[in-house]
């Protein structure tokens, strides 16, 4: 690791902070864009940039949530409930400072658990066979569908459409062409980064085009001392921070759940557990900012744990990161610790640097970022379009990739408008080949479909995973979805 790589983490975190703060530009978009632009880079530098952006992006969302009542990212939805009321009471500086500070604490806690428990989970996962891997991929995909904002059926349809897209091209076992319909362009399959850029970024361009909403950005400027953590506020928030960090990490570990759900659940728990908040919840309680912001950052450590130890992405951001690992020849999974221990350590170091630099640049650059939030839509749309076009071309120097990307943008726009979530499509494109390969290997090993089905129950680990899947499915569908998607009602801003 050189000073240049550290610099890349820092630049990544700054880009993440800015893009995360802009409503409409998500963490996933930021990471997709960076993956597409850095795929030709040496692995270390690319990883540094990507992980920096991931760390910065999650924190950036809070800025617009507090100042504009619009979450910059999904992970900042819960921050609005008390962050924006704090802004209205003239305490935006305190809220931003608190959110940035607890972000570091939550993030560090998540990374600590990744470092401690990662090797343990890896050792256990070494016992996994094809059946277990197949079940885990099913778990990840179905839970993303369950927790998607659209309805369950539509979420599952999106996942299956993604599986179809992932199957286009050469069959991994027999080498036969599938779903190419004699079109040469399809024989190499559809690059998942192209699909990602289309479904996450280009789709957003179309959504911005058809939305007539403008953003009302506060013109207030914050002094450095306003943004530094105040001892009395931190003292009040220690307890909510401690349980929120644990909740965030656990939810981050579960496939299909990320920082957004973690933040909402942590907020819900805090509301139940804190008897005497600094102010009533929903009216500017510091605890209501600290809890979701601690949890959404701790979830990063959890999601990366699942990604590195099992090779399963938890949400759309980690799906993109998994895709970037593949692009650079890094294969996460149970063997990751033994085969690439240096990269495991590097990832932890990059995340730590990313968290710290996010805090420092967040404090120093809040005023500048607020200025950037004022960029008009008429500028943002062509600007993002050019980024999408260049990013998709850069992958294989192919104009057809750009056309595919635009096509995916249109599909994503239509799907989202019709209530179909797009995250399961991407997750399925990436998980699909792993799922199919393990399914077919298990089928070859067992000899028939009936034996394969029996093996799911007869193999102890497989049975255990099956029980966990059903349990977590019920738990998440019944409990988490309720907490996540029936949140606090926020009074619309009258401005």
């Amino acid at each position: 690791m050189t000073i240049i790589t550290v610099l890349y983490v820092m630049i990544g975190s700054i880009i993440g902070l800015i893009m995360g703060a802009m409503p409409g530009l998500t963490v996933t978009m930021t990471v997709v864009l960076i993956v597409s632009l850095t795929f030709g880079w040496p692995m270390q530098q690319a990883l540094a940039f990507i992980l920096g952006a991931f760390a910065g992006g999650v924190s950036g969302g809070a800025l617009s949530a507090i100042t504009m009542n619009i979450p910059g990212t999904a992970a900042a939805v819960a921050t609005i409930f008390d962050g924006y009321p704090l802004n209205k009471k003239g305490e935006a500086g305190n809220a931003i400072g608190l959110s940035l500070f607890v972000n570091v604490i939550g993030g560090m806690f998540g990374i600590l658990l990744l470092g401690v428990l990662g090797p343990v989970i890896c050792n256990f996962a070494l016992k996994f066979g094809s059946q277990e891997y197949f079940l885990i991929t099913i778990w990840g995909l179905s839970l993303v569908a369950v927790l998607s904002k659209g309805n369950l059926v539509k979420g599952l349809i999106s996942g299956l459409v993604g599986l179809f897209i992932g199957m286009i091209g050469m069959d991994p076992i027999t080498g036969k062409m599938r779903f190419t319909f004699g079109i040469d362009l399809l024989s190499g399959g559809i690059h998942y980064v192209v699909a990602m850029i289309g479904l996450f970024e280009m789709k957003e361009v179309f959504s911005l085009l058809t939305s007539k909403q403008g953003f009302a950005v506060s013109t207030q400027r914050y002094k450095l001392k306003d943004l530094l953590p105040k001892f009395n506020i931190i003292k009040r928030c220690i307890k909510p921070m401690s349980w929120s960090a644990i909740i965030g990490w656990i939810i981050g570990v579960l496939p299909g759940t990320g920082g957004d759900i973690g933040a909402l659940v942590a907020y819900g728990f805090t509301k139940q557990l804190v008897r005497k908040p600094s102010r009533p919840f929903g009216e500017g309680a510091y605890e209501g900012v600290a809890a979701p912001e601690t949890a959404n950052k701790a979830a990063i450590g959890g999601a990366v744990t699942t990604l590195l130890t099992l090779g399963i992405p938890g949400d759309s951001v980690t799906a993109v990161i998994l895709g970037s690992f593949y692009l650079h020849g890094l294969i996460p999974g149970p063997n990751f610790m033994s085969q690439s221990p240096e990269y495991f350590r590097l990832i932890i170091i990059f995340l730590v640097i990313g968290m710290i630099s996010t805090y420092v640049f967040g404090i120093l650059g809040s005023n500048l970022m607020l200025k950037m939030l004022r960029l008009p839509i008429w500028f943002l749309i062509p600007f993002i379009s050019i980024l999408c076009i260049t990013g998709s071309f850069a992958l294989q120097n192919s104009v057809s990739d750009i056309l595919f990307m635009i096509g995916f943008g249109v599909i994503g726009f239509i799907f989202e408008r019709a209530g179909y979530p797009v995250s399961p499509i991407i997750l399925a494109i990436i998980l699909g080949p792993i799922m199919e390969l393990n399914f077919r290997q298990a089928l070859i090993n067992t000899g028939s479909i009936s034996s394969l089905l029996a093996s799911f129950i007869l193999r102890p680990i497989s049975l255990g995973i099956l029980i966990i899947i059903i349990g977590s499915f019920v738990f998440q569908a019944m409990f988490l979805k309720k907490v996540a998607f029936e949140p606090e009602k926020v009074e619309p801003d009258s401005k």
Binding site: M167, D171, L209, S385, I386, A394, I406
Partner: protein, 165 residues
Amino acid sequence: MEKTTRLLANILTIAVLMAMLFNIAEFIFVKNVKLFSVDSPIIFPFLVLLVLAVLIGTNIANETKIKRYDVKSIEENLQMKPKEDVIKQFEIVVLFTAINIIFVLLLPYFHFLVGSFIFMVLEMILLNTNIKSFIRRFTLAGIAGLITVPALYFVFNGVFQIMLP
């Protein structure tokens, strides 16, 4: 908007279903590949197809049910935006998709700097409807394009060192 997009999304999902069905049938009847063998390349796609068919059927049934019986949905329909507005939104998406495609197809003939500048200025003029005067709009778009495009070129070419279209 909702009704039209729902219809379009249903058409897309059915198209995926048909494409899968067609290709799997081609494997079975033209290429004589066995569906239920352990090394069949179409066993997994077939299972996906089955689940997808069931889910699409369920979804269409749900939507039809809502249309018929849900009073809320009827109320929503009554409150829907005028049809012209819906068409206008789709027209905007189609127009910008077309501009993007034309830009992409013409890009190999222009340099990235020239092509992107024209593209940015054109889109900004079309989008910045708040300013009534065309000359002011053009000037603003031109200045923004002149600053942004070379900056992007420097970042992509100099920093990221990527091949540009």
